[in-house]
Every structure is written in structure tokens, then in C-alpha cells.
């Protein structure tokens, strides 16, 4: 873990709210290597966005308590002074967000916003900035880049805008790209284009990528390793094959089970996870998933540590169930992996 490009250790992020402290991230550890894509999967409130915004220092505020280490390229970003951290943002680490329409300033032309990203970190002439901007727009597949430089964001379509965002994030050759739900607001065909683009760029530029999403389908196409987050914690971590073929945590089973498939016949009912994600102000004691888990038992009020239990060393999870049991209970009555209470299976 220590020679990884980015290594987050025991990250905790707590917001002070009117109703009490909100633990958005409680003890998350993950890492990414150069040339690797890490997928972080979770729903709203899982902490996936907060954790990554914290890497960039974008959650620093008077009412926010941050602890843990964020090792990037030999430095701990968590304790880095604001001005130095600013030099990392948009320079060594680039980030793109979900909604490209609202993420670009509506009043400034694209060319100006791109140039701004360069000028924030380098002293270049206007011409050089312009050349570089055109180069990046071409790299992300925007036709007629010179003409597009003097257009406004609302003159681009959704997919094109997201490409512009990617160009802007990559313009200073960052070592790491964090993509926070980059395709959620886009149509499925454009989604495929954008994901393919990210994969190509990664190969071409050799950078690391963190892809954040709530859709397991999205990560299937581009990631190498996956972290599943729930209610502020990482509940499972492993390779793509680990997660899809040998998932170890009931929440992962629930996510897999509730996916609809285009290559399978209609089943009578989608396997669903009952209830709702817990409040992060007063989370359940022990395993956060306990109230919604049909397999919860008496050990669950004790928080399971993130450990390798299934035999494969890189495959970690937070569930007290025995691996043999898991293999049985995770198969639902329709023969697929899912989350379902089964009669007579638990002791």
C-alpha cells in the first residue's frame, strides 16, 4: 500500500450540523496505483463523494473535522497547508463531476475556462494556453476545437460538455483523475462513449483513475479494482472478478441482485434491499447495514473490521458471516446472487 500513488488511511470526516455531528466517512482506507482504475461504488450518503472531495481538500471548513492520512506522492494531503494543497488541485490531481451543465461557468467561454485552469498553475503566454487547450479538446474527441473555444457551455450537448470537463481536468497532466459520477446525468449511449474515452486516456497518459458511481454496471467496463461503500464505510474491496463472482458482503449482494439485466429473461420480482440507508448522525451500532440485512445475527452489533476473510488476499470485507455460509445464503430463490432471507439456513 505504501508505494501506491494515492493511499488514504483511516479517513474520518465529520460535519457539525444543527442536529449533531454527521459522520460522513468513518474509517475509510483505499489506494490507487499508477495506471490503475479504482471504482468506488455506493449510493447517496455512502460517503464516496465526501471521501474524494476530502482528498482534494474541498471539504475543509470550520465545521468539519477531518482525521486520517491521505498520502499522495509522498506527502500527506490531509495536513498540507491550504496554499500547497491548492497547487495540487487541478495540477497533480484533476477532478470531474456529475452534471457538466452546472459544473461549467455559464458566463465564460470554454476557451477562457480552459486557459484559467492552465494559468492557475503555470506561467504561460496566451498563445501557449490556447494551443494547449486546442490540443486537449482534440484529445477528448471534440471536433473543430478552434471554433469551439469561443463558445459557451450551453452551446454544447451533454456528452460534449463532459468531454470539455475532462479536458479541463487533464490539461495540466495530472497523475490522478477523480471522476465523480461522470456519466450519471448522461444517456446510456453517451455514457458508453465517455467511459471508453476515460479508459483510452488512462492508457495513453498512464494516469491513475478513481471512478465514483452508484451503478455497478458502469464499473464493469473500465475498472480494475472496486471498493463498495455504505453509510460512510468501505464494506467490501477487491478486484472486479472478486466483487462480481465472489461477493462477500450482503450489501454487495443486494446491489447485484437489484440490477436489471438485458440478457436475462424477466424474473418475477427484483431482489430489493428493504428500508433506507441509515442516518449518519445516529448510525446503528456495529455494522451499519445491520437493520436492513436479513442475515444479521448476534455478532453484528460489534463493528466488523475490514479484513480478508474469503481466502483471496486482496479481497477484503466487513461481514462476520463465515465464507462457506456466505456462498450459500447469497443465492436467492431465483438462483441468482441477491439479498433474501432464507428459511432454515441460519443457525
Amino acid at each position: 500500500m505504501s508505494d501506491a500513488l494515492l493511499s488514504v488511511e483511516d479517513l474520518e470526516v465529520t460535519f457539525e450540523t444543527d442536529d449533531g455531528p454527521l459522520r460522513a466517512v468513518s474509517g475509510a482506507s483505499f489506494s490507487v496505483d499508477r495506471g490503475e482504475t479504482l471504482g468506488i461504488v455506493g449510493e447517496s450518503g455512502s460517503g464516496k463523494s465526501v471521501a474524494n472531495l476530502t482528498v482534494l481538500g474541498l471539504t475543509r471548513a470550520p465545521n468539519t473535522a477531518i482525521s486520517g492520512r491521505i498520502m499522495f506522492d509522498g506527502r500527506d494531503l490531509a495536513t498540507l497547508p491550504a496554499e500547497e494543497l491548492r497547487r495540487v488541485r487541478g495540477n497533480d490531481i484533476g477532478m470531474i463531476f456529475q452534471d457538466p451543465l452546472t459544473s461549467l461557468h455559464p458566463f465564460y467561454k470554454i476557451g477562457r475556462q480552459l486557459a484559467e485552469a492552465i494559468n492557475a498553475h503555470r506561467d504561460v503566454s496566451d498563445n501557449e494556453a490556447r494551443e494547449r487547450s486546442i490540443e486537449l479538446l482534440g484529445l477528448v474527441g471534440i471536433p473543430e476545437p478552434e471554433r469551439r473555444l469561443s463558445q459557451y457551455p450551453h452551446e454544447f450537448s451533454g456528452g460534449m460538455r463532459q468531454r470539455v470537463m475532462i479536458a479541463m481536468a487533464l490539461i495540466n497532466d495530472p497523475k490522478l483523475l477523480i471522476a465523480d459520477e461522470p456519466t450519471t446525468a448522461l444517456d446510456v449511449t453517451i455514457q458508453a462513449q465517455i467511459l471508453r474515452l476515460i479508459a483510452e486516456l488512462q492508457e495513453r497518459l498512464g494516469m491513475a483513475v478513481i471512478l465514483i458511481t452508484h451503478d455497478l454496471g458502469v464499473i464493469v467496463q473500465v475498472v480494475h479494482r472496486v471498493n463498495v461503500m455504505y453509510a460512510g464505510r468501505i464494506v467490501e474491496a477487491g478486484t472486479l472478478d472478486d466483487i462480481f463472482y465472489d461477493p462477500q458482503h450482503p450489501y454487495t449482494w443486494g446491489l447485484l441482485g437489484s440490477l436489471t439485466r438485458i440478457d436475462r429473461a424477466r424474473t418475477s420480482r427484483l431482489s430489493q434491499i428493504r428500508g433506507q440507508p441509515p442516518s449518519l448522525i445516529a448510525p446503528p451500532q456495529g455494522c451499519h447495514f445491520r437493520p436492513r440485512c436479513p442475515h444479521a445475527f448476534d455478532r453484528c452489533p460489534e463493528t466488523p473490521p475490514l479484513e480478508a476473510r474469503s481466502g483471496s488476499p486482496g479481497h477484503l470485507d466487513r461481514c462476520w458471516l463465515e465464507p462457506e455460509e456466505k456462498r450459500v445464503v447469497r443465492i436467492t430463490s431465483s438462483g441468482e446472487i441477491g439479498l433474501e432471507a432464507r428459511e432454515g439456513v441460519r443457525a
Partner: protein, 348 residues
């Protein structure tokens, strides 16, 4: 044209909705039209679910609103239980409005934030005459039916999560006991596990109340799960229509295959061996659709005839229609297998 769904609840014939584009310094002149819906014919049988898929800009939302007469059609006919809706004035439409309702995509925008949940769900009932204690009890029953509790009546929308708000929207749509509910991307804005809950709820309600659905979505997995039949739209026209299993297993129109191949299959090994069709560029503008076959500018199989003659919807048997000069199952069957490996394909 009989596009099957015998004994139809809803019959749409050659429905057209164009939005004029006006320009001019002093006086507005019409210089073009956005052809949002450009001649759509569909029918929906009672009790079935018709899935409507397409990307943003294909006109599916406009189609829904035009069918419900929320937008006035430019031309065409919409018959509900045999009665013509197009051309009717507000008061004439009202008794029919009870029978057709809509659920919207954005659970945050489609509920009035200043009204309490009880008022929101009760408004349609109140509009049609209910009041007092009877109104209250009907609202309570509706809330319970969608999985909320009656104590939620006095709360405001912002106190609920996305999934719960969508349930409120569903309760509102059910209030008048409609026959037809048009669901405009009802789960797109929700997290995946909540999507499953809502889809299951919609299916249960369909069984219990004998509802007919038109289910609009761009997520093909969801659409396959809920639909009996599927219609694929592109730039204002239907390009393929047929029973769900058929369309997914044996798509005829290249655009349908494109949509299918863009959907990730959550199985890494299967996904890795796919050869999807990936289109480049964006959807052409609906104000200026390509001539003849609208898809020919992006279609990997297009030939000269595609830019000269517009293909008609042709019946390929079994209720499966498509509008294409080069039907995939005859000319490029290998592309289908390459893009969407089937675990259990229906035999042709």
C-alpha cells in the same frame, strides 16, 4: 394501421407535435420547426406495459405529454377507450383525465414544496369532489398502499428521500383510480437499490389495480424487466416495436442494437467479450433531421438507399415491427450475437 395490442385502451395514430422556431427582427417569422414527435402510431392494450425507450431528444417525453393533451398536438389522433382526445377543450377532457395519470422523473421537482403530502395526494380527489373525512381516509389508504404511513400526511416533501417522494408521486397518480398511468422515467433519478423497490411497487400496483402502463426510460435493463412490449424511438419516430423478449433477443433495427450494446452487462467476463456498436457524435437536431432514414448518418450499416427513401414500419411477424432497409436479423445476425451475448435467447 394495426400495430397490435388488440382491444386497445389507448390508440395513437400519426401523432405529430412540432414546435415552431421563430426568428425575425421585428415580427416573428417561423423559420423552422423542432419535429419532436413526427408521426407516431402506437396502441396499448388494457393491462399491458408498453416500454418506450430512446435517448434524450428522441421525443419520448413530448410524446407522453402530447398523448395526455398536456401539450396540444399539431396533428394526429389519440383515442382513449375509443374516444378521441385531440381537439377536446378543457372541460370535456376532465372526465377522461381521471382515467389517465402521469408519474414524473424528478421526485424533487414534481412535488410542490410548499404543500403537505396529504394535500398533494388529496388534490386530485378534491378536484373531483371529495372532501372532509372521506378525503382524509382515502389519502391515508393511498399512502399506506405505496408503502408510506398515514403519519406522513402532514409532512413536507423536503423531509423525504428521493425514493419516498417518488412513492408520493405514485400515490398521487393512483388517487383517481386511473386506468392508464404514463411513467416518465420514474426511477432514473433514484439510487439503484431504491429503483428496485419502486419497480416492484409499480408491478404490485399493476396487478392489484389492473393498471395499464406506458413506461418511458432510457435504461434498457429496467425497461426489459417491466415491459410486455417495447417501442424504440429515434428523432421523433418509432423505429422498432415488438414484444419485449423478441426485441431484446432479436433486434432488427441497428439503433436498437446500439442501445442494447451500450448497456453494460454486470458480468465482467461476458462484458469483456462483447463487441458493442458505439456511435460517435451527438444526436442530430430534431429541428433538422436527416432526410429519409433519420438514423442513416450514424448507422454503421447505411447504404445509399437509406439516404433516399424513408423506410416504413414493416411487420416481421409476431407483432414485431421495424423500419429499416437492412434488417439486422437478415443481413447482420453476427453483429447481434457479438454485441449482446444471450444467456437464453428466444428461438426465432
Amino acid at each position: 394501421m394495426s400495430l397490435d395490442g388488440a382491444g386497445r385502451l389507448l390508440e395513437i395514430t400519426d401523432l405529430v407535435k412540432h414546435f415552431p422556431i421563430k426568428r425575425g427582427i421585428i415580427v416573428d417569422r417561423e423559420v423552422g420547426r423542432v419535429r419532436a414527435v413526427d408521426g407516431v402510431s402506437l396502441s396499448v392494450a388494457p393491462g399491458e406495459t408498453l416500454g418506450l425507450v430512446g435517448e434524450s431528444g428522441c421525443g419520448k417525453s413530448t410524446l407522453c405529454r402530447t398523448v395526455l393533451q398536456l401539450i396540444e398536438p399539431t396533428s394526429g389522433s389519440v383515442r382513449f377507450e375509443g374516444q378521441e382526445l385531440v381537439g377536446r377543450r378543457g372541460r370535456e377532457l376532465r372526465p377522461l383525465r381521471r382515467e389517465m395519470q402521469m408519474i414524473f422523473q424528478d421526485p424533487y421537482a414534481s412535488l410542490n414544496p410548499r404543500k403537505r403530502v396529504g394535500q398533494i395526494v388529496g388534490a386530485p380527489l378534491a378536484l373531483h369532489g371529495a372532501s372532509g373525512r372521506e378525503l382524509r381516509s382515502q389519502v391515508q389508504e393511498l399512502l399506506e398502499r405505496v408503502g408510506l404511513s398515514s403519519e406522513h400526511m402532514n409532512r413536507f416533501p423536503h423531509e423525504f428521500s428521493g425514493g419516498q417522494r417518488q412513492r408520493i408521486g405514485i400515490a398521487r397518480a393512483l388517487a383517481l383510480q386511473p386506468k392508464l398511468i404514463i411513467c416518465d422515467e420514474p426511477v432514473s433519478a433514484l439510487d439503484v437499490s431504491i429503483q428496485a423497490q419502486i419497480i416492484n411497487l409499480l408491478e404490485d400496483l399493476q396487478d392489484e389495480f389492473d393498471l395499464t402502463y406506458v413506461f418511458v426510460a432510457h435504461d434498457l435493463g429496467v425497461v426489459r424487466h417491466v415491459s410486455d412490449r417495447i417501442a424504440v424511438m429515434y428523432l421523433g419516430k418509432i423505429v422498432e416495436l415488438g414484444p419485449a423478449e423478441e426485441v431484446y433477443a432479436n433486434p432488427i433495427h441497428p439503433y436498437t442494437l446500439t442501445l442494447l450494446s451500450a448497456v453494460p452487462i454486470p458480468d465482467p467476463r461476458e462484458n469483456a467479450v462483447r463487441k458493442p456498436i458505439v456511435l460517435e457524435g451527438d444526436l442530430p437536431s430534431p429541428a433538422n433531421p436527416p432526410p429519409a432514414c433519420r438514423f442513416h448518418t450514424r448507422c454503421p450499416y447505411a447504404t445509399e438507399i437509406c439516404s433516399e427513401i424513408e423506410p416504413e414500419l414493416v411487420d416481421y411477424g409476431g407483432g414485431h415491427w421495424a423500419a429499416c432497409h437492412h434488417p439486422l436479423h437478415r443481413e447482420h445476425p453476427e453483429a447481434i450475437a457479438a454485441a449482446v451475448p444471450h444467456a437464453d435467447a428466444a428461438p426465432r
